[in-house]
């Protein structure tokens, strides 16, 4: 009997420990990134690093400014949002309110498959199909802000569709019925009552999509051109924070390497901010619901 009791307690302890791993993981990740990245920021000078417009790590003297890449990451994410969000939300509306049942059985798994395609395949596809298309149609090198935005826009579709659809489905049917009974058309009822009511859920999906677009690496590195610059037109190339890490980590040493880790820290902080705002949106919608 006592042995049993001991076993119960011991296993509870084990389960508890496994549950705490996720906390430990986040803490260790934070410590290691900041420990390795912050000294470089200090050495370069925080404002020279984040605000500097010259990235020339192999020059003598070297300069490490990532401002252009921060802007590039924001530009690419914005482009992906402009392309992905309207299509994603409207597709979610279609799936939730307009889709005939037989079509739904095909379309829903299709959107999930879109999420399953590895990012390297997206990148390769972009390089082989989207980049030449842009080169032939709009001129320039093809590898560009526009190419990255299009591919990323498709990549964030499943995230936005999935989250938005469940948010739309969570709205009480009575909202819709009420609008219909007042004589509104089906479309009006959906767009004027259901969609506004599912606002915070849809927003959560968009924020999640922003996080994915910001953190995407392999697709972007293949199709964005990777020039360190602030693009003047959509057909100009750019280099995101993520691409910078992948491109140069292989051969970097010393302060250059630390500067790349610091680039990762900046990215990490961005993503943490997004996660936090995501959680804020969620808890707000839970309180209301």
């Amino acid at each position: 009997m006592r042995l049993n009791r001991f076993r119960e307690k011991a296993m509870q302890g084990v389960f508890f420990l496994t549950a705490v791993t996720s906390i430990a993981a986040v803490v260790i990740i934070c410590i290691f990134l900041f420990y390795n990245g912050v000294p470089a920021m200090a050495e370069i000078g925080f404002f020279d690093f984040v605000g500097g417009q010259k990235w020339a790590p192999t020059n003598v003297p070297a300069s490490y400014g990532i401002f252009d890449m921060i802007i590039a990451s924001i530009y690419v994410t914005a482009g992906a949002i402009i392309i992905g969000v309207p299509i994603g939300i409207l597709t979610a509306v279609f799936l939730a309110r307009f889709c005939p049942a037989p079509l739904y059985k095909v379309l829903k798994p299709a959107t999930e498959l879109l999420a399953g395609i590895p990012s390297i395949v997206y990148g390769f596809f972009g390089l082989m199909v989207v980049v030449p298309f842009i080169r032939d149609t709009f001129g320039g090198f093809g590898s560009s802000w526009l190419a990255a935005s299009i591919v990323l826009g498709v990549m964030i579709l499943p995230t936005i569709i999935g989250v938005s659809e469940s948010a739309i489905r969570a709205v009480p049917e009575s909202y819709y019925e009420g609008a219909l009974a007042l004589g509104a058309t089906k479309e009006r009822s959906v767009f004027k009552t259901i969609l506004p009511a599912s606002k915070s859920g849809v927003l959560a999906g968009v924020v999640l999509g922003i996080g994915r677009a910001l953190g995407e690496t392999m697709a972007v590195v293949l199709i964005a051109g990777n020039q360190v610059q602030i693009p003047h037109s959509v057909t100009d190339g750019l280099r995101t924070l993520t691409a910078n890490i992948v491109l140069e980590m292989g051969y970097s040493t010393g302060l250059h390497r630390q500067a790349l880790i610091a680039t990762g820290v900046v990215l990490f902080v961005f993503v943490l901010l997004i996660t936090l705002s995501m959680q804020a949106i969620k808890s707000r919608s839970e309180k209301r619901g």
């Binding site: 389960f15 508890f16 260790i28 597709t91 307009f98 498959l113 690496t217 992948v246």
Partner: protein
């Protein structure tokens, strides 16, 4: 009382087919409504168009990759040896399988254990549970390149494992932990409370109830989550380049470097010399990932059947 009985009886006598529904909108009426509110028609078209674009994107990508890739699925692509003339993807396939297994061995006990704690032991509204959930969500949001960076700093350099199977597997294990945790917890929560009560009623303790009753009935859901994690592992690139490395041979030991299939494809694409083989590899990768996703959905469906 008698009155309502009468009504009920009358209702039973009415022939249903005779009833004319007044809330049914005919096509003509709908067109009339659209004429009055053209915006509604525009919205309908937009919604349909968006769905068509989403579907078209998927079909276009898949068909294009298949058309360009399938002719390149030559026997040489799957020969056992990799060399610079014949960039066979066989070693990377084997490496991917080993990497997946090792990653699962590390992450599944932690993920499932954590989910058991959250679903079965933790009290509702516990502060710590909230923190754990927040942290798991944070983990889920971290981009894979940051995982790669961390894995390189911690496993490759701090622990001095070098580019190795273990470094790659541990990095990925942390990455898929939130996926396994969440899906397992959801599966545990679908087990009806009556199972737990029945088990306690027969005199078994909490541990036995969890191991013998709850885990088995939640198994399909847990499996579906694990298979989903496998899909992520197979498709992952950014987290592996600087942890597992990109050596071309078989990773024979835990401290050997190797390249997974996705990394292999990245290297091929980057070099730009073997585009045909890259198309072929893309097909292999797509087929693998889709098979894994389908399997996951199939297993998850089984859970739904069990519940009934």
């Amino acid at each position: 009382m008698a009155n309502s009985d009468n009504i009920k009886n009358d209702a039973a006598l009415v022939d249903v087919s005779q009833i004319k529904a007044i809330n049914k909108v005919s096509f003509k009426q709908r067109m009339k409504a659209y004429k009055r509110k053209p915006l509604s028609l525009v919205l309908l078209i937009l919604v349909g168009l968006a769905a068509a674009i989403s579907a078209a994107a998927l079909i276009f990508i898949i068909v294009y990759v298949l058309v360009r890739g399938v002719p390149n699925l030559t026997p040489e692509l799957f020969s056992l040896e990799y060399n610079s003339d014949n960039v066979s993807c066989m070693p990377s396939i084997i490496n991917t399988i080993i990497l997946t297994l090792v990653t699962l061995v590390i992450s599944v006990p932690f993920g499932v254990g954590a989910a058991i704690y959250l679903a079965e032991y933790a009290k509702r509204g516990n502060k710590l549970v909230k923190v754990i959930r927040t942290m798991a969500e944070t983990l889920a949001g971290i981009p894979s390149i940051v995982y790669g960076l961390f894995g390189m700093l911690f496993f490759v350099y701090a622990l001095n494992w070098g580019y190795s199977l273990l470094a790659g597997a541990f990095t990925l294990a942390i990455m898929v932990l939130p996926t396994i945790m969440r899906t397992t917890e959801e599966a545990l929560l679908t087990v009806p409370d009556s199972y737990r009560e029945g088990s306690y009623g027969l005199g078994s303790g909490k541990l036995r109830t969890i191991m013998r009753i709850i885990l088995p009935s939640a198994m399909p859901g847990i499996l579906a989550g694990i298979i989903l994690a496998v899909g992520r592992i197979v498709g992952e690139t950014a987290a592996l380049i600087y942890t597992y490395g990109s050596a071309t041979g078989y990773a024979a030991g835990p401290f050997n470097s190797g390249r997974s299939l996705a990394v292999h494809m990245y290297v091929l694409t980057n070099e730009g010399l073997h585009t045909d083989q890259a198309w072929g590899t893309a097909v292999v990768l797509l087929v693998l990932v889709f098979a894994i996703n389908t399997l996951s959905a199939f297993v998850a469906k089984k859970l739904g059947n069990n519940k009934r």
